[in-house]
């Protein structure tokens, strides 16, 4: 059993290793093709991050990881929740608006704000779940549309009820929650609510592997028909999984809100795009808690370090988006190739069994 496990772990590492090598190669080729120096690029990127960058990487990792878990909940049961972006935008706005209202103080305000973020995210994704189960609308289509609606809606609400400040508009400012400063003060803080990422990760693992609900979820993801015959109610399962995915998505930006932003402003303090990053990282990490942690660190590292490119090289920081994109594409392809290769090996083994089995009696 031991050797089997080692072999399985080895095989599962082959694909991401190939993917990273491929993405580095492609990035190098692109940089060379536009006439910049790949070696400058890589030496800047792989330079040990300064304390300030390290803190940024940790904070970004937290948010990306929450987004990845949100995506993974859908993926594990065969749902493609592409609407994380809209869910967390709307949830972040609602949460920031509530927190800014200062109806509660201190810890209570933070706790209730988080609950509101979860509820709004869950409600928004729940719409897609209900549409899927009652009208048969693919969640891919409905969540994409709900993304647009969410962003428009937030823009409208913000404009109407927000605080106008010159050309920008934002929600009322709130008191930040003091974070943890491992280095000097000017290097910034690790946001307190990054702890959400840890809790979400552990919770995801527990839910999936230790609970009946998680078992039903995984069974549904592996085979609809088997899950149904085993007593899973597909309607309830789809709505629950969608709502859970959206609820987690609602939390994505919360560390930043209480750690640094203090208010929600579209195009200003609010960091958009984390939802799509989360989907990419979930793919990269194969929806496994540890795999996604690795993916989140990698993506955060690339994003943060790319800022240094502006000073040290003539390469645009957006080049790392190519690296990230290729990594995801390559990992999906590599996993598929590895999977087929393993299936072929299995088939051959069965074939050999068959020959011996049918020849024996003759």
């Amino acid at each position: 059993m031991r050797t089997f496990n080692l072999k399985a772990i080895g095989l599962s590492l082959v694909a991401p290793a190939i993917a990273i090598v491929v993405s580095l190669l492609v990035t190098t080729l692109v940089i060379a093709a536009v006439g910049s120096s790949p070696s400058d690029f890589w030496s800047t990127m792989f330079e040990v991050p300064k304390p300030r960058s390290r803190i940024d990487i940790i904070n970004q990792t937290g948010m990306i990881y929450i987004a990845a878990v949100a995506a993974a909940i859908g993926f594990r049961m065969g749902l493609f929740n592409i609407g994380l972006e809209g869910q967390y935008t709307l949830a972040s706005y609602a949460a920031a608006a509530f927190a800014g209202g200062a109806y509660l103080s201190g810890f209570a305000n933070v706790a209730v704000t988080l609950l509101i973020a979860i509820a709004v995210g869950a409600a928004w994704s729940g719409i897609a779940g209900v549409l899927r189960t009652t009208r048969g609308v693919s969640e891919v289509i409905s969540t994409i549309m709900l993304n647009s609606i969410a962003i428009t809606l937030v823009g409208y609400l913000l404009n109407r009820y927000g605080v106008h400040e010159g050309n920008t508009v934002r929600t009322t400012k709130i008191d930040l929650v003091t974070g943890f400063s491992p280095y000097e003060d000017r290097d910034g803080q690790i946001w307190t609510l990054t702890i959400i990422a840890v809790l979400v990760g552990v919770g995801f693992w527990l839910l999936l592997n230790k609970t009946r609900f998680g078992f039903d979820l995984r069974a549904s993801g592996q085979s609809d028909s088997v899950a149904k015959a085993s007593g899973v109610n597909p309607t309830r399962m789809i709505i629950t999984a969608m709502a859970l995915s959206g609820g987690i998505a609602g939390l994505i930006w919360m560390p930043a809100l209480f750690g640094k932003a203090s208010s929600f402003g579209l195009g200003t303090s609010f960091q958009a795009g984390l939802g799509f990053l989360g989907i990419a990282v979930a793919l990269l990490g194969r929806n496994r808690p540890l795999g996604m942690l690795f993916g989140a660190v990698l993506f955060a590292f690339l994003s943060v370090k790319s800022n240094d490119l502006t000073f040290a090289t003539d390469v645009s920081p957006s080049i790392v988006q190519i690296t990230q994109g290729v990594a995801v594409l390559a990992v999906v392809i590599a996993y598929e190739v590895v999977r087929r290769w393993r299936a072929q090996l299995e088939q051959r083994a069965v074939g050999q069994d068959l020959v011996t089995a049918t020849e024996a009696p003759a």
Binding site: T211, A219, A229, G231, N233, L354, A357
Partner: protein, 503 residues
């Protein structure tokens, strides 16, 4: 019969899958310009044979001769090149494309996608009376039109030998007549048709030759002009029936399952089940015989709560469970051995101990409150593997790695765990080896002695007669006859199952 008049000749065809011999020693000769019917029960090996002739599966033994030339068909493309086309029971059409587009899809090289194609379609349509309108979207077409389009597609690709897989299963009687008119036109134009069916009336009506398959091999041929339905039924079912084992009846007076006038319709309002009433008492095995596709699957799914009946009541003991869902029914003590273990019984990529949990997620020893009891499930999987002789390296082995028989033994062991009150066993020994088969039978008999009520659906008459206390026959969604296993004759069963003579 001269060599020129033979379109297809199959000799000694054999095909084996892991744990199953799908075809062996199959001989089949189709004459040019005839409709050749291939009949046999489901599981008799018809599908495999068709797939071999259409190049989907490669035979392990035997030879295929088409128009006098020995051929090797590795892919459907090879088959099409040799003039063999196939119309599947489930149509392969793109709903959002037009008739013309569907026609040329994948065959663009033949007549292009423009006027030449249009002309060719019109020619085929007129020649055989298909009435195709090239610019209509396929989603607007009814079932019969789609089928004509499928046949036309095959002709468009130059096929002269056409395989039709149960073409009448989806049609209403008038449409069947229209199809047969088309087929006669095709045959008169020198095409050869292999017609797969188990509806004997239709077979006698349309075919020029009949070949009967049973248990993977061809068991005989018949001349439709001189053969009766009863004789055909006997050939299909086999003339010798096993004698039931003289075991004491364990039937009690306590009714465990009652179906009272249960009907179920599909989304088009056609009845899948009509007024089904039955009772199973504790300690009783009720066998359901029937040619497959006559409502057995729907009956099981209705009892298991995967479908909710439109009318009628279902009682488990004295409790009305008509509207209960699968999980509640399973918790109430119904064990379920599904017909298709891959689609309904196992998570193939999950380890055996997780498969032990499947279907019993809420029950001891698999769960403690909302949590999965990993150690309990693992320990119980060890027990099942020992008691039911499931041969596998260990409980962490993925289910996929097991042979069919061992997969099935695991399912039987799982479903017998936790003292069920009712077992729904759908083809419990299909595709398993002889050893596993007798072991599974023994387990069912033992549970019956202990007071289990069993609904047994099977196409295997050995199994039905050997295990059942009563046999009911299902035909087109109705229960049409009730027989005693001790006295039933193959003629009785055969004619009831095929709607033959007045039963």
């Amino acid at each position: 019969m001269t060599q020129e008049s033979v379109a297809v000749e199959l000799r000694g065809i054999g095909k084996r899958f892991p744990g199953v011999i799908a075809n062996h020693d199959v001989d089949l000769t189709i004459r040019v310009g005839t409709v050749h019917a291939l009949i046999g029960e489901n599981g008799a090996g018809k599908s495999t044979l068709m797939k071999i002739l259409y190049g989907v599966q490669k035979p392990d033994d035997g030879t295929i001769t088409i128009n006098g030339h020995a051929v090797v068909l590795k892919t459907p493309t090879d088959a099409i090149e040799n003039g063999v086309g196939m119309v599947f029971q489930h149509f392969m059409l793109a709903d959002n494309l037009t008739v013309l587009e569907n026609m040329v899809l994948g065959a663009e090289k033949l007549h292009g996608i423009g006027d030449a194609a249009r002309t060719e379609i019109a020619r085929i349509s007129d020649r055989f009376g298909f009435g195709l309108e090239p610019d209509v979207l396929v989603e607007k077409l009814g079932v019969a039109d789609r089928q004509r389009l499928e046949i036309a597609k095959v002709l468009y690709r130059g096929a002269r030998i056409i395989i039709l897989d149960e073409p009448t299963a989806v049609l209403v009687p008038q449409e069947v007549d229209a199809l047969f008119a088309n087929l006669r036109e095709l045959k008169d134009a020198g095409n050869s048709i292999l017609f797969i069916s188990h509806k004997l009336d239709e077979v006698l009506d349309i075919s020029d030759d009949i070949t009967v398959m049973r248990r993977g091999t061809t068991v005989g041929t018949a001349d439709p002009r001189t053969t009766t339905k009863l004789q055909l039924a006997e050939l299909m079912v086999g003339s010798e029936l096993p004698s039931p084992e003289t075991e004491e009846s364990t039937v009690t007076d306590t009714v465990q399952l009652t179906l009272d006038d249960v009907s179920l319709a599909d989304e088009f309002g056609r009845n899948l089940l009509t007024s089904i009433s039955l009772q199973i008492r504790r300690g009783e095995v009720l066998g359901i015989a029937g040619v497959e596709g006559n409502g057995q699957a729907e009956l099981v799914e209705t009892i298991m709560g995967m479908r909710i009946p439109d009318t009628g009541r279902i009682l488990l003991g004295t409790e009305d469970v008509t509207n209960w869902h699968t999980r509640e029914l399973r918790e109430a003590g119904i064990g379920y051995i599904p017909e298709d273990r891959h689609r309904h019984g196992l998570l193939l990529d999950a380890p055996l101990w997780e498969n032990r949990i499947l279907g019993h997620q809420t029950q001891a020893p698999n769960a403690k409150g909302p949590w999965i009891n990993r150690s309990g499930a693992r320990k119980d999987t060890d027990r099942i593997m020992a008691e039911y002789d499931v041969r596998a390296p260990g409980i962490d082995t993925p289910a996929r790695a097991l042979s069919g028989g061992n997969q099935q033994k695991l399912i039987v062991g799982r479903e017998m765990s936790g003292d069920p009150v009712l077992l729904i066993a759908s083809h419990p020994t299909r595709g398993v080896d002889v050893g596993a088969q007798s072991a599974i039978w023994d387990h069912i008999k033992r549970a019956r002695r202990a007071g289990l009520a069993v609904l047994l659906i099977s196409a295997d008459l050995d199994e039905l007669i050997g295990l059942s206390d009563t046999i009911q026959v299902i035909l087109r969604g109705r229960l049409v006859g009730s027989f005693e296993p001790a006295t039933v004759t193959p003629q009785d069963l055969g004619s009831a199952m095929t709607g033959g003579a007045a039963a």
